[in-house]
C-alpha cells in the first residue's frame, strides 16, 4: 500500500473518531446522581437518603462571607448579592438578615390566626385585646412606629409580625446596617441552591453564577467573598483533583512520547498508538448513550481506567513487526493471543453486567464494548495505516542480554507457594482497618476550610449537614402532628445542650387538627365587636378603626385550613417542601438540627415516639450504601475471576498452561494487597478497580511469556513489547502515585505496584523450558 493511502486512511479514522465522539458528547448525559452509582436501597433510611441525598434542607446551603472593606461597603455588597441571587433561577432562597419576612408573611395574612400559636394560650377577649392595644399605643411612639402602622387596622395583635419572627432563623447573627455580620466583621449570607448538594456539576454552575454576580457589584474588586458548604467542597475537590490529574497527564504524555521514540526509533507509533483506545472509548460512550442515555461520572472514570488495557494492543503490534513483512501479517500472527486476552477479559466483565447495579452494568457495557472495538481496530484498521517495519525490534541492543538474564534467574518451585501463604497471612493479620468506607477521605477538604465552615455555620445557626431528624407517618397531616408533639421534647434537648437548635416542619405549617382547634377559638363578629369596644375604653384609638380586623377574623372562621399543597405555593413553600416529603406509601418529615452535641440523646426521643421519630446520620447511611456497593463489586469480581479462569483454561486447552498464566496474576494481585495492608492503607473502591486494571495488564504479560514460539527472535520481540508496555504503565501510574490527592494516589500506587509484580512474576513463573532456547 502506498504511503499517501495510509495517511488518507489515518485521517479518515481520526475524523470518524471525532465525528462519533462529537455525536456522543451531545447525546450522552454524564450524571452525578448517586442513585446511578450505588445499589438499590434496602432500608427506609437508605431509600430516604437516595431520594433526598443532597436535596435535604441542609446540604443545599452555601454559606457566604464578605470581608476586606469598610462595613458600610460590605453591607452594600451583601444587599447587592442578595438582590442578584434572589433573581437567579439557580437559587431557591437567599437570606442576609435584610429580608422583610413581614412581607412574605403577608401572603398568608388571611391564615394568620391559624398559623400563629397565639390562640393556643390566649383568647381574643376584652382583657387580651386591651393589653395588646395598650402595647400598640406604646409602639406608636417608638422610632420604628412607621413599620407597624400599616398593619394596625387589620392586625392589632400583630400576628403577622409574630409569624415573621417565628419563621426567622432561631439564631441570628448581629445586624449592622440591616444585614448580618459575623463577630469578625464579615457580612454573612445564606444561599440555598436548587441543585442537590452532591451534584458537583450543577453546584459548580451555581457557584460560578454566584461569583459572577458578586464580581459585577460595584466595589466588589476590593472585597473578598468566601464560600463554604457541601456544594462548595464538592466543587473544590473535583477541581483540585482534575487540575492535578491534568498536570500529571501533561508530564506523562511527554514522557510517553519520548519513550516511544526511544523504543521504536520512529514517529509512526506516536501518531497511531492512541487510535484503537480512542475508538474503543467513543464506541463505549456511544453504547452508554444508546442503552442507558446517561452514565454516572464515576462509572465513566472507572470505565476509562479499565479500558487502559487496550493501550497495549498497538504496542504489541509495533514490537512484533518484521522487516519485509506487511504489518497485517504480524497482526494476524499475534491475533489469536490478543483475541484470547480480549475475550477472556470481556467474559469476566459479564459478571458486572449481572450485578443488578446500574452503575456496574454501565461499567460492563462501556468496558466490554470499548475493549472489543479497540481489539478489532488493532486487528483490521491498524495494519492499513502502519507501514512495514524498517527495523526488527529483536535487534534492539541489550535485549538479548536482558532475556538471558531473565531466563537464568533461579526459579525454585516452592517459592510461589511460600509467598502465597505469607501473603495471605499478612493480608489477614495486618492491623488497621481493611476498608475505607468514607468516600470523602479520598478527596479531603483542607482543615482550614473545615474550621471556617464550622465557624460560619455556628454564627449563622445554619443546620448541620450530617444529621437530620426523621419523622414518619402514613399521611402529611400525621407528620405535622408528630412534629408538633415532639417540639416540646426538642426544646428539652436544647435545654440539656444535646443540640443547639432545630427547625421542624410544624414551625411553618401546623397540622390541620391544630388549625381547626385555633379556628374554633375565634369569636363571632358580635362577640369580638363588643370585646373590642370594651378593650378600647380609656385608649385614644378612634372608634371603628379596627373594622378591617373584625372582618378578617370573621372571614378566617369560615376559611378551610391551610394544606401543605396550598402552603407550598407561598413564598415560604420551598422551606416546607424540603422538610415534608412523600415516600412510597407514607410521608416523612425532615427536621434540621444545628450543633448536634450528643447524638445518643435522641434515642430517648425515638423511644418516646415508638420509633416514629429518629436521628438520621447521613454519614452513617452513606457508608452503609458504600459497603453494600462494595459487597456487590466484590461478588462481581469474584465471579469475574472464576469466568476468567474458565475462559483462559478453555482457550489454552490445558489446565497446566492455564496455571502458568493465572498463577502469576493471582499471586501478583495478592502481593499488591500485601503492600497496601502492610502500609496500613484502607482499601477503597478505587483500589479495587485499579487492582482489576493491573490484573488485566498482568494477563497480557503472562499470556505472552507463556507462549511457545520456539523462535528466538520472536521471543525477543515479545520481551520488547512487554518491556515497552510495563515501562509505559509504570510511567503513567507511577507518576500518579506521587499525587497529593488521595484518590489519584490510590489509583497510581495500586496499578504501578500491580504492573511491577505482574511483570516480575509472569517472568519468574513462566515455564522455564520456553525461555531457555539456547539450551
Amino acid at each position: 500500500m502506498r504511503d499517501h493511502a495510509r495517511v488518507a486512511i489515518w485521517f479518515a479514522w481520526l475524523a470518524l473518531i471525532a465525528a462519533v465522539g462529537w455525536g456522543v458528547a451531545s447525546h450522552l448525559k454524564i450524571s452525578s446522581d448517586l442513585r446511578d452509582f450505588v445499589p438499590p436501597a434496602r432500608t427506609a433510611d437508605q431509600k430516604l437518603l437516595l431520594d433526598e441525598i443532597g436535596k435535604g434542607p441542609g446540604s443545599r446551603l452555601l454559606l457566604l462571607a464578605i470581608s476586606g472593606a469598610p462595613k458600610a461597603q460590605l453591607a452594600g455588597l451583601s444587599r447587592g448579592l442578595d438582590d442578584a441571587l434572589a433573581h437567579d433561577p439557580a437559587f431557591a432562597r437567599v437570606a442576609n438578615g435584610d429580608n422583610d419576612l413581614a412581607e412574605v408573611a403577608s401572603d398568608l395574612l388571611p391564615y394568620r390566626y391559624l398559623l400563629s400559636p397565639t390562640l393556643d394560650s390566649h383568647r381574643l377577649d376584652a382583657a387580651y385585646l386591651h393589653a395588646q392595644l395598650q402595647q400598640r399605643i406604646e409602639d406608636l411612639s417608638s422610632p420604628a412606629a412607621s413599620m407597624l402602622e400599616p398593619w394596625l387596622r387589620r392586625d392589632p395583635t400583630l400576628e403577622t409580625l409574630k409569624l415573621a419572627r417565628r419563621w426567622a432563623p432561631s439564631h441570628q447573627p448581629k445586624l449592622i446596617d440591616g444585614v448580618w455580620f459575623s463577630e469578625r466583621g464579615e457580612a454573612l449570607l445564606v444561599a440555598e441552591t436548587r441543585a442537590a448538594g452532591f451534584d458537583p456539576g450543577a453546584q459548580g454552575a451555581a457557584i460560578a453564577s454566584l461569583q459572577k454576580h458578586f464580581a459585577a457589584l460595584p466595589g466588589a474588586a476590593s472585597a473578598k467573598l468566601v464560600i463554604s458548604g457541601p456544594g462548595w467542597f464538592g466543587v473544590q475537590a473535583s477541581r483540585h483533583t482534575r487540575a492535578e490529574a491534568d498536570r500529571f497527564g501533561a508530564i506523562t504524555t511527554a514522557g510517553f512520547i519520548l519513550m516511544l521514540l526511544l523504543a521504536y526509533r520512529s514517529a509512526v507509533p506516536i501518531v497511531v498508538t492512541a487510535l484503537p483506545l480512542l475508538s474503543g472509548a467513543v464506541v463505549g460512550f456511544a453504547l452508554l448513550a444508546l442503552i442507558f442515555g446517561h452514565a454516572h461520572g464515576i462509572t465513566v472514570a472507572f470505565g476509562f481506567t479499565l479500558l487502559g488495557v487496550a493501550q497495549e494492543y498497538p504496542l504489541r503490534v509495533f514490537s512484533h513487526r518484521r522487516i519485509g513483512i506487511e504489518t497485517s501479517q504480524s497482526v494476524r500472527e499475534l491475533w489469536p493471543l490478543l483475541a484470547t486476552a480480549i475475550v477472556s477479559v470481556c467474559i469476566a466483565y459479564l459478571a458486572f453486567f449481572a450485578s443488578g447495579v446500574a452503575g456496574l452494568q454501565q461499567l460492563a457495557v462501556f468496558t466490554i464494548g470499548g475493549l472489543v472495538v479497540a481489539g478489532l481496530c488493532t486487528r483490521w484498521l491498524l495494519p492499513l495505516v502502519v507501514p512495514p517495519a524498517r527495523r526488527d525490534m529483536a535487534a534492539t541492543p541489550g535485549l538479548a542480554r536482558a532475556w538471558h538474564f531473565l531466563a537464568h534467574l533461579p526459579r525454585p518451585r516452592w517459592l510461589p507457594w511460600l509467598v502465597a501463604v505469607a501473603g495471605v497471612a499478612v493480608v489477614v493479620f495486618a492491623p488497621g482497618k481493611v476498608w475505607q468506607n468514607d468516600l470523602s477521605a479520598l478527596t479531603p477538604i483542607p482543615k482550614a476550610e473545615l474550621q471556617r465552615d464550622a465557624r460560619l455555620r455556628a454564627e449563622l445557626g445554619a443546620p448541620d449537614v450530617r444529621y437530620l431528624l426523621v419523622m414518619r407517618a402514613p399521611t402529611a397531616e400525621g407528620v405535622l402532628g408528630l412534629s408538633e408533639r415532639i417540639a416540646p421534647l426538642m426544646r428539652r434537648l436544647v435545654a440539656e445542650h444535646a443540640v443547639d437548635g432545630f427547625e421542624l416542619p410544624s414551625r411553618f405549617l401546623p397540622s390541620i387538627a391544630t388549625q381547626t382547634a385555633r379556628q374554633a377559638k375565634l369569636p363571632a363578629a358580635p362577640q369580638l365587636q363588643s370585646a373590642l369596644q370594651q378593650a378600647m375604653q380609656g385608649l385614644p384609638f378612634r372608634a371603628g378603626v379596627f373594622a378591617p380586623f373584625v372582618a378578617d377574623v370573621e372571614a378566617v372562621r369560615k376559611l378551610p385550613p391551610l394544606t401543605p399543597g396550598k402552603f407550598q405555593q407561598s413564598p415560604l413553600g420551598a422551606r416546607l417542601e424540603s422538610m415534608l416529603v412523600q415516600q412510597g406509601e407514607g410521608w416523612a418529615g425532615l427536621g434540621t438540627l444545628s450543633g448536634v452535641n450528643d447524638p445518643a440523646a435522641f434515642a430517648a426521643l425515638s423511644k418516646e415516639t415508638g420509633g416514629a421519630v429518629h436521628l438520621l446520620d447521613l454519614k452513617g447511611s452513606t457508608e452503609s450504601l458504600i459497603i453494600a456497593y462494595r459487597h456487590r463489586i466484590l461478588i462481581a469480581l469474584g465471579i469475574a475471576a472464576l469466568l476468567l479462569c474458565a475462559a483462559v483454561t478453555f482457550a489454552l486447552r490445558s489446565p497446566r498452561r492455564a496455571l502458568h498464566v493465572l498463577g502469576p496474576m493471582t499471586l501478583a494481585t495478592l502481593l499488591v494487597l500485601v503492600v497496601l495492608r502492610a502500609c496500613g492503607i484502607p482499601l477503597s473502591l478505587f483500589h479495587l478497580v485499579s487492582l482489576t486494571l493491573a490484573a488485566g495488564l498482568g494477563l497480557h504479560y503472562a499470556l505472552f511469556f507463556e507462549r511457545r514460539t520456539g523462535d528466538e527472535r520472536e521471543d525477543l520481540r515479545t520481551l520488547h513489547a512487554t518491556l515497552v508496555c510495563v515501562a509505559s504503565a509504570l510511567l503513567v501510574f507511577g507518576v500518579l502515585a506521587l499525587s497529593s490527592v488521595p484518590v489519584l494516589r490510590a489509583i497510581g500506587l495500586t496499578v504501578a505496584l500491580g504492573v511491577a509484580f505482574h511483570f516480575t512474576l509472569s517472568v519468574l513463573m513462566a515455564p522455564a523450558e520456553h525461555l531457555r532456547w539456547e539450551a
Binding site: 462595613k71 453591607a75 438578615g97 435584610d98 422583610d100 399605643i137 406604646e138 406608636l140 411612639s141 417608638s142 422610632p143 420604628a144 412606629a145 412607621s146 413599620m147 402602622e149 394596625l152 387596622r153 448581629k174 445586624l175 449592622i176 446596617d177 440591616g178 444585614v179 385614644p540 384609638f541 378612634r542 372608634a543 378603626v545
Partner: protein
C-alpha cells in the same frame, strides 16, 4: 431673537441656581454655628398625631446624640422605654421586656431624625445631603430648615422634616409622614417649658414652634 431668548433663559437659570446656593448656604452656616461636641443630651417631648388615634400621643424623656450615627432615646413618661440607634439598627427595650431589633433602613422616620440630629448637633451636612434636599429660611435669630427626601423609597414614607430654631438652638422637629400622620418633637428650652395642655392641637403647637414670642 432666539439667541436673546437663550441668553435670557441662561441668566434666569443662573439666578435660580445662585438663589438655591444662597439658601443652602444659609442652612450650612446655620448648622455650622450649632455644631457641638458629642455626646450631646437634651430633654424632649414628642407629640404624635396619628390617623388611628382620636387624640395626640405624648411621651417625654431624654435624647442623646453620641456622635456619628449613634443615638439614644429614653422615654421616662408615661412608660419606660430605651431606644438605641447604632450600626444601622434600632434596638428598643420597653420596661424589662424583650429587646426588639429593627434595621434602620426599614424605619426611614428614625433615619431622618438621626440625620437631622447629626446635622444639627454635629454640623455634618454631607451625610444629610445624600438622602435629603436642604433648604433654609429666616435669619440667624429665627430660622427654619426643611429636609425633603430625595429618593423615591424615602418619599414613599416621608414628606418632610422641618426644624425650627432660634439663634444657635433648635426648638422643634416636625415630621410629616407620607400617609398624613405627623409628629412634633420639642427639644432644648421648648421641651423644658413643657406642654400647656395634655392634648395640644397640632396647629397650636406648630404655631408655638414658629412663634417668636416665647
Amino acid at each position: 431673537m432666539r439667541a436673546f431668548r437663550d441668553a435670557l433663559i441662561a441668566v434666569a437659570l443662573a439666578a435660580t441656581a445662585t438663589g438655591a446656593m444662597a439658601a443652602s448656604g444659609l442652612a450650612e452656616s446655620l448648622l455650622a454655628g450649632m455644631a457641638k461636641t458629642p455626646p450631646v443630651s437634651t430633654p424632649f417631648v414628642l407629640v404624635s398625631y396619628r390617623g388611628v388615634l382620636d387624640r395626640p400621643l405624648v411621651v417625654s424623656g431624654n435624647l442623646r446624640w453620641l456622635g456619628g450615627d449613634r443615638m439614644e432615646r429614653d422615654i421616662a413618661k408615661p412608660f419606660k422605654e430605651t431606644a438605641k440607634i447604632a450600626d444601622g439598627t434600632i434596638t428598643v427595650q420597653r420596661g424589662s421586656g424583650e429587646v426588639q431589633r429593627t434595621p434602620l433602613a426599614r424605619a426611614p422616620q428614625a433615619g431622618a431624625m438621626l440625620a437631622g440630629f447629626r446635622a444639627l448637633l454635629g454640623g455634618d451636612v454631607s451625610a444629610l445631603q445624600k438622602d435629603f434636599a436642604l433648604s433654609a429660611q429666616g435669619s440667624g435669630a429665627r430660622w427654619v430648615i426643611t429636609l425633603a427626601p430625595r429618593t423615591d423609597a424615602l418619599k414613599r414614607q416621608l414628606t418632610s422634616l422641618v426644624i425650627d430654631g432660634r439663634d444657635h438652638e433648635p426648638r422643634c422637629l416636625t415630621m410629616t409622614d407620607a400617609n398624613g400622620d405627623s409628629s412634633i418633637t420639642l427639644v432644648g428650652a421648648m421641651a423644658e417649658q413643657g406642654l400647656r395642655s395634655a392634648a395640644p392641637l397640632e396647629s397650636a403647637l406648630a404655631a408655638r414652634c414658629r412663634n417668636s414670642g416665647q
